[in-house]
Every structure is written in structure tokens, then in C-alpha cells.
């Protein structure tokens, strides 16, 4: 499976460096290495979800208890989480670090991913969620660190889009 191990490791290490100790996740192809890294790390609490919106509640609880967390999900999982993001995280000013695999961009071969890909950025803008894309491995550490800083200072959700050029190594 040509999911980039190098990029996944860079993302994981940056999350750890930014203090993340709890991750919620719902598996998707591009996230397999990240989820495995969380699973194998004794310092990380990994919560596997049935549906992504649960992760908003779990992260909110962790934050109120003083634990930094991150949500790993596909953009369709982000779309499925919107009410939780708005009426838990935004309503209560909860910092939420969301790592969203950005399926359906240029290069997408799976027809079923293409609609969600087309609306992801517009939905993030409509929700006034600050976001940035990760296309190259050298962007990963600084942008994750800065995203975490903003989430914590503003007490609000922020998103990083894990893009095809970062996550997928064409065979």
C-alpha cells in the first residue's frame, strides 16, 4: 500500500511534539500508519471510534481535563462531525486539532471520494475554521506546531488537510 511511511512518521512526531497524548481515529487508507503508530506508542491513548463526531466529544472532555488531543479522520468524517464541531467545540470554545485526509483532490481515482473532496475547503471556510494544507514533508512539523498554538490561544477548532502529495506515493 503506497501510503507514505515517512510522511506519516513526520505527522505523528509533530503531534507528539505538540503535546498530543490522546488521539481519536476512524480508519481510512491514508491514516493506516498513523493509527498504527498511535497504537504502538505506550504514551498515547488511541480511541477508535464508530463515527467521527464522537471524537469531538472525546476531545472536548480530554481538553477540559487538561489533556491535549487530536482527531484523525477523512474529509467525509469531518463532514459527518459538523454538528459536534459547531455545537460542542465552537459553542464552548474548545481547542480541537483536526487532521483531515483530503480525499477527492486532483489525482483521486476513487469515484466515491470526489464529491466530498469538492466541498471540504468551502465547508471549513463556512465554519470559519482556520486551516492549512500539508503537501510536503518539510511543512509538517512547523504547521502542526503553529496549528496547535492557534487552537490553544484562540480556544477553537483548527484543521490541517493531509494532501495526496504528502500521504500517497504513487506506485
Amino acid at each position: 500500500m503506497p501510503v507514505s511511511t515517512t510522511s506519516s512518521r513526520a505527522v505523528y512526531d509533530a503531534l507528539k511534539a505538540s503535546g498530543v497524548r490522546l488521539m481519536s481515529a476512524l480508519p481510512e487508507t491514508w491514516l493506516v500508519h498513523l493509527i498504527r503508530m498511535a497504537e504502538e506508542d505506550p504514551e498515547m491513548t488511541l480511541v477508535r471510534l464508530a463515527k467521527e463526531e464522537e471524537g469531538v466529544g472525546i476531545s472536548a472532555g480530554a481538553h477540559l481535563a487538561g489533556v491535549r488531543s487530536a482527531m484523525l479522520m477523512q474529509n467525509h468524517g469531518f463532514l459527518a462531525s459538523i454538528n459536534g464541531i459547531v455545537s460542542c467545540a465552537q459553542l464552548y470554545h474548545i481547542p480541537l486539532l483536526m487532521l483531515i485526509s483530503y480525499r477527492g483532490e486532483f489525482g483521486e481515482r476513487d469515484p466515491w471520494q470526489t464529491e466530498g473532496g469538492g466541498v471540504t475547503e468551502d465547508v471549513l471556510r463556512a465554519l470559519r475554521i482556520p486551516f492549512s494544507s500539508l503537501d510536503r514533508v518539510d511543512q509538517v512539523a512547523p504547521r502542526i506546531a503553529k496549528a496547535q498554538t492557534l487552537a490553544l490561544s484562540a480556544n477553537k477548532p483548527v484543521a490541517l488537510l493531509l494532501c495526496r502529495d504528502l500521504m500517497w506515493e504513487e506506485a
Binding site: 490522546l22 491513548t45 480511541v47 477508535r48 471510534l49 464508530a50 463515527k51 463526531e53 464522537e54 471524537g55 469531538v56 466529544g57 472525546i58 476531545s59 472536548a60 472532555g61 480530554a62 481538553h63 477540559l64 481535563a65 487538561g66 489533556v67 488531543s69 454538528n83 459536534g84 455545537s87 460542542c88 459553542l91 464552548y92 470554545h93 474548545i94
Partner: protein, 186 residues
């Protein structure tokens, strides 16, 4: 059984425990008995109170966490019961007040009014301890047993579909949020 009486019956046990409630009648009634800094009322995001309780229970394993949920809310996050069961926080007691209706929005019946069994669903999801109770004595006994059991418990308390005259209280959402967080972190 009235939900307010059920809450009154166990209120003394909540003093030192972390409490998360859903919105509406549960939040207003618990506040009417006396707000505490260790109580958080999730005044929206229906379904996520149990997920929030899980996040707190995993982050604060030394504290006992009580979630007061409702039938309408948990029906929006039945998958979350499987997540609760999977991580089985032994410091979490999950109470579902089941009045078989969406009381605050016109009293329309939920699926529990036509036989859906929430304790059965919780047990089938893998929650190790479950019970359905419909009298005040049975409720307080089940709650006290759960506190002593040291394992994840879901108690479905069948209550009358009556609530307070008003749902908005003078506690602002953000005041509650920051006070609660400070109390949890201290």
C-alpha cells in the same frame, strides 16, 4: 418516578464526582438542586455527553465520572455505546433518563416509546453492567451499586415525561465551561 426526585435521591453522591449532563430538563433540574463547579451541562451537541464523559474518564482515571444522558440524546449516538464498551472506563457511570419522548421540543415519542430497549442495546454493545429501573428506590440502589462496583455501568431510569417550567438558567455556557475545566484540572 420523576427525574427531579431521582436526581435529588443521589445528589449527595455527586459532591466530589465529575458530572456531565445533556441539555434541557436534566441540566435545568440538576441546577435547581444546586450547581457545583464539578458539574458540566452540555447545552447542545445532542449525543455527545457520553463521548465527553469517555474523554474525561480516560484523561482522569483517578476521578469517578457520572454522565446524565437521555433517551433522545443517546439514540443520536448509539455507536458511542460500542466505543464506551470498547474502552470500558471503570470510573464511568452512565445514567440514561428515559422518558420515552423529546420533552423539550413538544413531547414527541422516541423509539423507546415503541419498545426499543436502551439497556438491552447497551448490554449488546458490550457495556459490562446494565440495568433498567423504574422506581426511586431501585434507581438509588442501582446508582449506589454502580458507584461501588468500579466498572462501567449504564443505568436506564424510566421517568415521567415532565420537566421544569423553563430550560434557560442564569449560568452562562462559557462560565460553566471554564469553571468546570478549572475544577477538573485543580
Amino acid at each position: 418516578m420523576k427525574r427531579l426526585d431521582a436526581l435529588r435521591g443521589i445528589y449527595a453522591h455527586l459532591e466530589d464526582r465529575v458530572v456531565v449532563t445533556i441539555m434541557g430538563a436534566v441540566a435545568a433540574e440538576l441546577q435547581s438542586l444546586g450547581h457545583r463547579p464539578n458539574f458540566f451541562y452540555l447545552q447542545h451537541a445532542m449525543g455527545l455527553a457520553s463521548s465527553m464523559g469517555l474523554g474525561i474518564a480516560l484523561s482522569k482515571p483517578e476521578r469517578q465520572v457520572i454522565v446524565f444522558d437521555g433517551d433522545g440524546s443517546i439514540l443520536m449516538n448509539l455507536g458511542g455505546l460500542t466505543t464506551l464498551a470498547r474502552y470500558r472506563p471503570r470510573n464511568l457511570v452512565h445514567v440514561v433518563f428515559d422518558n420515552e419522548s423529546l420533552l423539550s421540543v413538544g413531547g414527541f415519542p422516541t423509539a423507546t416509546a415503541t419498545g426499543s430497549d436502551l439497556a438491552g442495546i447497551a448490554a449488546a454493545a458490550g457495556i459490562p453492567r446494565t440495568a433498567t429501573v423504574s422506581t426511586l428506590d431501585a434507581f438509588t440502589r442501582a446508582f449506589e451499586d454502580a458507584l461501588g462496583a468500579g466498572d462501567l455501568t449504564t443505568i436506564v431510569a424510566k421517568v415521567e415525561a415532565v420537566g421544569p417550567s423553563a430550560y434557560v438558567t442564569d449560568l452562562s455556557l462559557l462560565e460553566n465551561r471554564f469553571q468546570f475545566s478549572r475544577s477538573l484540572r485543580s
